[in-house]
């Protein structure tokens, strides 16, 4: 058969390459996956170095600029010709009839931007810094994506929100991964009554309608507790309903791996269950786990944003993309300040990025791909 022929050819061609080297080569060739990886890396860097990238802190309020629209970055001087990037300041005007405050860009107020400026303090690993990636050269306020009802910088809050949203995603995915793997592998390997009981529990968990359940569970969370406590409990609720899929998938995989000759050969040399599980079975399910995790992370991001938008997820003063969107839940604020929707862009970008990365990983790890 051709398959066999090609395998033999591949053996000759791929001498000296380990499995992961092969995966990397296949992945690098996949353009969509690579774009996903790069975008995902940017999102992660944003979360880690939020203090450096965001020009302001989460709660830094600019009382002179309430509901101020975004300030675009210009690189062409008013009189033509390229210049260093600058933004235009806003002139405030009050409508004499409606008393509505409107902003209009004022070409007179030119504010040059520069890199590595000093600003509000932020801490990282216990060290305090005050350097930011960019800002106005003279330290005057500047709001790339405008401000909200309290004059807080939307761009800065969005960058800080990446941290909470991503942390939630990573925490939930990691915990669900550990629980799902432990349950699924044990259930598939030991089989029998244990498997029967565990799988009925999995079915029970999977049969719950998730959304009403989330709402009900979140409703029992103590309102007065610390935001961090609520964050952890919220994460725990998500984990509770997320591990079941993985454990079901891994169970099937383990059942097929369990009958492989290399597992029986390990048994034949006298290896104990614990060794067979950790050395033979779990490593051979790793590609499945990695792909599952890269698909799961964006799902959790979406779910967190959605529940926080409804006001039942992450609680203020913690900032996540979802809580930021919570501010525009009525039509008036949406009409007045559409720039508050900016986190939607981040959600879309990060979900697409992680999905693209997951797709690329899936293709690269496919043992049946010929190329």
């Amino acid at each position: 058969m051709t398959d066999q022929t090609m395998n033999a050819e591949e053996v000759q061609a791929s001498n000296g390459l380990s499995y992961w080297q092969l995966v990397r080569r296949r992945f690098v060739r996949n353009r969509y996956g690579m774009v996903g990886l790069i975008a995902a890396m940017i999102v992660i860097i944003m979360a880690v170095f939020a203090g450096f990238i965001a020009p302001y802190g989460v709660e830094t309020k600019d009382r002179t600029a309430i509901y101020q629209p975004p300030q675009g970055i210009h690189i062409i001087a008013p009189d033509g010709g390229l210049t260093r990037p600058y933004v235009m300041g806003w002139g405030e005007e009050m409508d004499p009839v409606t008393y509505e405050i409107t902003f209009a860009p004022d070409p007179e107020l030119r504010r040059d931007l520069s890199l590595f400026v000093e600003g509000t303090e932020w801490t990282f690993l216990g060290l305090t810094f005050d350097t930011h990636l960019f800002g106005t050269a003279d330290g005057t306020p500047f709001h790339l994506l405008g401000t909200d009802s309290l004059g807080r910088d939307v761009f800065s809050r969005m960058v800080w929100g990446t941290r909470v949203t991503l942390l939630m995603g990573v925490l939930v995915t990691a915990a669900a991964l550990v629980i799902g793997t432990a349950v699924g592998v044990a259930s598939g390997y030991f089989g029998g009554t244990f498997d029967l009981i565990v799988q009925r529990i999995v079915e029970f968990v999977k049969s719950f309608p998730d959304l009403p359940l989330y709402l009900a569970l979140v409703a029992v969370l103590p309102r007065r507790a610390e935001p961090m406590t609520i964050f952890i409990m919220f994460a725990a609720i998500l984990v509770l309903l997320r591990w079941a899929d993985l454990s079901r998938e891994l169970r099937g995989k383990v059942i097929s791996i369990r009958t492989m000759d290399y597992v029986r050969a390990a048994e034949a040399v006298g290896a104990k269950d614990s060794r067979i599980l950790t050395r033979h079975i779990v490593p051979n399910t790793s590609s499945h786990m990695i792909v599952w995790a890269t698909y799961q992370l964006p799902e959790v991001i979406l779910l967190e944003s959605f529940l926080s938008f409804l006001g039942v997820g992450v609680q203020a003063p913690m900032v996540s993309w979802g809580t930021m969107l919570n501010q525009v839940r009525d039509f008036q604020s949406f009409a007045a300040a559409p720039w508050l929707m900016a986190p939607v862009g981040m959600i879309v970008i990060s979900v697409l990025a992680f999905n693209a990365f997951g797709d690329g990983m899936r293709d690269a790890m496919d043992p049946y791909s010929n190329d």
Partner: protein, 538 residues
């Protein structure tokens, strides 16, 4: 119209892979006349199947046919034909039989309809007529009770019957050329012989040309007019079958011809005492059928009261068709099989059949096993050193990593592999090399008894012989005893002192190998012998 039906010239196929392009076929030319049988021989990876697929223009997506290749069929240049025209030729003038009859039939359609579909797509006949033709075809390929078969699904048939359906499908439109790509490799030995005779017979009645792709030289010798030997994507030798077999020119052909398993095991000393003994082994599987309320339990007796004894230094062969219970018996004896085994097993006079897994553990170093498929018996995520070391670690042999490494090196040397194999992954090795690693894994524990479960059947013929030589060598050097499970009597003859022939879980014959082979008492054994040594005897 000339006498030549198919003429391929300078066919070259390259595969694009992550690690660069691989030239699978490099300038292969051969031709075939009407009514002739051409055998294409070579080991796996030699490009013989890829060439056949190029003729059918059924190459994989990442394969590219070199533009200089010329494929002329019946005066028509196939490489220039658009896909639509090619579809008219495929299954109509040229048909193909694949190796795996399990996967080449669609499981959700009745076989009768599947064969009729081929007729209906290529010819303008009514459904009723097509059905009549299918019935005729089924009779021709000698399917038992053909009327009943029409409405059966593939899973209701045996492997041999499915391959017959595949042949019927290939013959449906009276093709001029039939390409048979290892048509019997996946089948039982005895069925193999039947299928080959059938092919030969059908070729005579229909006057087809047949390209027979195979790695089995016995098949080539018995069935083909001319032969082409391929290696690394090139033809190394061609000629009339009789001439090539009588007087091979190329060293590779000579190597292939010399690779039939030969020799006999060293005689067994009279004084050898029993090492492993199994008394009245019986393994029963319970099969549940019926619905929830009509649940019935059938008992399938996989091993039916078999008594076997292996003396120190002896090699005992267990022979039979697939499904005869030979592997089940072997695994039950060494305590790695199903829990339903009953009977008494003695190892060095100690009863081992009633031991638990942890009680069995101290004995594991003495009793080892080598599995059939070296592609699934080595963990793909471990390097060779880890694979060999595992037995040492779990049994506490060797105090330091350095000491263990020395033992690994020794074991690799025993199976004639370089020590630098240690840091490499199994997928970097060929099938034969992998089987050597699997043998080294058993050997490193210094066992006294090794169960060999068809260790050569997944390998190419020329490598089989090397492994047999190695096993015979190791047996003498380490005073090992083997239990050798196989369906190939040729290999059994070269390796085993005594043999047990099994059918449907029963022992039908037992005794010294030569006695059984030369003077078979039952018709079943006779058939196995014929299949191994004569191929197309019937």
């Amino acid at each position: 119209m000339t006498d030549t039906l198919l003429d391929i010239k300078d066919v070259a196929v390259t595969f694009k892979t992550v690690t660069g392009t691989v030239k699978a076929v490099r300038g292969v030319s051969y031709d075939i006349k009407r009514g002739e049988t051409l055998a294409v021989v070579g080991e796996s990876g030699s490009g013989k199947s890829v060439t056949a697929r190029a003729i059918m223009s059924m190459l994989a997506d990442n394969a590219r046919l070199d533009p200089a290749s010329k494929i002329t069929f019946d005066g028509q240049d196939l490489t220039a034909l658009p896909e639509v025209e090619m579809q008219k030729i495929r299954g109509n003038k040229i048909s193909m039989i694949f190796q795996e009859p399990l996967t080449s039939l669609n499981p959700i359609y009745k076989v009768g309809d599947q064969v009729a579909e081929i007729i209906l797509t290529h010819r303008n006949v009514s459904k009723k007529e097509a059905r009549k033709e299918v019935l005729q075809l089924f009779k021709e390929v000698q399917l038992p009770s053909p009327e009943m078969r029409l409405n059966q699904y593939p899973h209701e048939m045996s492997g041999g019957q499915r391959q017959r359906v595949m042949i019927a499908m290939a013959l449906a439109n009276k093709p001029d050329l039939l390409i048979a790509d290892e048509p019997t490799t996946a089948l039982d030995v005895t069925v193999q012989a039947e299928i080959l005779s059938l092919l030969k017979q059908l070729q005579d009645t229909h006057g087809m040309a047949v390209i027979l792709i195979t790695h089995d030289l016995t098949v080539v010798e018995k069935t083909s007019d001319r032969v082409v030997v391929m290696r690394y994507g090139e033809i190394v030798e061609r000629g009339n079958t009789a001439e090539v077999f009588a007087n091979p020119q190329h060293p590779y052909t000579r190597h292939l011809l010399a690779s039939e398993p030969k020799g006999r095991p060293e005689p067994l000393p009279e004084s050898a005492g029993p090492l492993m003994q199994a008394n009245d082994m019986r393994v029963v599987f319970e099969i549940k059928t019926g619905g929830m309320f009509t649940r019935k339990t059938h008992e399938l007796v996989a091993v039916n009261d078999i008594t076997a004894m292996i003396r120190k230094g002896e090699t005992l062969g267990i022979v039979g068709e697939s499904g005869s219970g030979k592997t089940t018996l072997g695994m039950a004896m060494i305590g790695l099989g199903a829990a339903h085994a009953r009977g008494e097993v003695l190892f060095e006079g100690q009863r081992i059949d009633n031991l638990t897994r942890s009680q069995m553990r101290p004995l594991r170093t003495k009793i080892q096993v080598v599995y059939q498929d070296p592609f699934s018996s080595l963990n793909p995520r471990m390097i060779v050193r880890q694979i060999l070391e595992e037995g040492l670690i779990v049994n506490g042999i060797g105090s330091s990593a350095k000491e263990r490494e020395e033992l690994v090196r020794e074991a690799l040397h025993e199976v004639q592999m370089d020590a630098d194999a240690m840091t490499r992954f199994p997928h970097e090795f060929s099938g034969g090399q992998r089987q050597r690693i699997a043998i080294a894994r058993a050997l490193i524990l210094k066992p006294e008894f090794i169960l060999l479960d068809e260790p050569t059947s997944a390998l190419d013929l020329s490598i089989q012989a090397q492994i047999i030589d190695l096993l015979r060598d190791l047996r003498v050097r380490h005073d090992l005893s083997y239990m050798f499970i196989s369906h190939d009597l040729k290999v059994v003859k070269a390796l085993c002192h005594n043999v047990i022939v099994m059918q449907n879980g029963r022992m039908v014959e037992a005794g010294p190998t030569l006695d059984v082979l030369e003077n078979p008492q039952t018709e079943y054994t006779q058939r196995l012998v014929d299949a191994a040594f004569n191929v197309v005897a019937a």
